[in-house]
Symmetry: C2
Subunit: 183 residues, 2 copies
């Protein structure tokens, strides 16, 4: 009887990841509940998206924790981070595009914290002489988001294998396309 809001959120995330314009009715069906019940738990579509945003933020924070981004080389930390964020990549891609509509209105403050942590990781790599300094941490962070969205879309569209997700993103982000003398 008791509907598990967590389960509803997961179903909504899975659906909206594939079809970002899904209606409340479709979300309800995907979660296996009626539209009325969905509306009882989430006041409206806004509330649902906000909840999904909170979920995405929580998963990002968890990924940042589990990846232990302060340990080891920055490169290894980035690799662990991408691997830890992979399960949430689809949701992140949805929220990433969804946020662009808010035109700077009420941006959830949680993102700033995450941006800071990731930027901090890149900055640590720069200070340690590991990363180049002509690309700002802010841009590297943004590029990480963009590449994860591209990777998620590629896997979702079947153009890429899930097992290559982490490798593709990390290798491109860190090493770039150019061939290097020593690998």
């Amino acid at each position: 009887m008791a509907v598990d809001p967590e389960h509803v959120l997961r179903a909504a995330a899975a659906l909206l990841t594939r079809k970002s314009t899904a209606t409340m009715d479709e979300v309800a069906k995907a979660a296996g509940i009626s539209r009325a019940t969905l509306h009882r738990h989430f006041a409206g579509r806004d509330a649902l998206v906000r909840a999904l945003e909170a979920l995405g933020i929580a998963e990002c924070e968890a990924a940042l924790d589990v990846a232990r981004i302060d340990e080891g080389t920055a490169s290894e930390a980035v690799r662990r981070l991408v691997g830890a964020m992979e399960p949430a990549a689809g949701l992140l891609a949805f929220l990433y595009t969804e946020n662009q509509l808010f035109e700077g209105e009420g941006q959830n403050a949680g993102w700033a914290t995450i941006d800071d942590r990731i930027s901090g990781l890149f900055r640590r790599g720069q200070l340690g002489g590991e990363f180049r300094i002509d690309l700002t941490p802010a841009w590297l962070t943004e590029a990480l988001y963009g590449l994860m969205a591209s990777g998620a879309w590629m896997v979702h569209s079947g153009k890429g294998a899930p097992k290559d997700f982490q490798h593709m993103i990390v290798e491109l982000l860190l090493g770039g396309a150019l061939r290097r003398e020593e690998s």
Copy 2:
């Protein structure tokens, strides 16, 4: 008196780039014409988006031509290509996210041609020993799109300067974040 459809498309592109959910009425106002006239030139929102897609494809093709991607090293060609595509980056970002809704329905065939040309450029770089071969041309192409979208969004949100657009994208795409011995 005569409304220039090209001008209308440009205005629509400029608006939808910033606000992808703009209504037909807003588009009409942005183009300086009435909604009725807008509707006379473009049967509906779908037709408008299709026309914008055609415009984006045409601009991509033009950029590919002007960048002369078959000349010089692949790296230089990529740099020229990104520079040539920069003016269209906003429109491309809009179409990039818009296309994900079509879920493989009627995907304009023009994109395949463009994908092939860009993929071919990356493949040329690989065959010439210039680019690494463990990242597929398809992924490099997708990553280029993603990075251009991220770059466009960064410039649009004021977090980055337009003058850094080309440098940020090309340097990250080709060289990656890792610091290299010789610069």
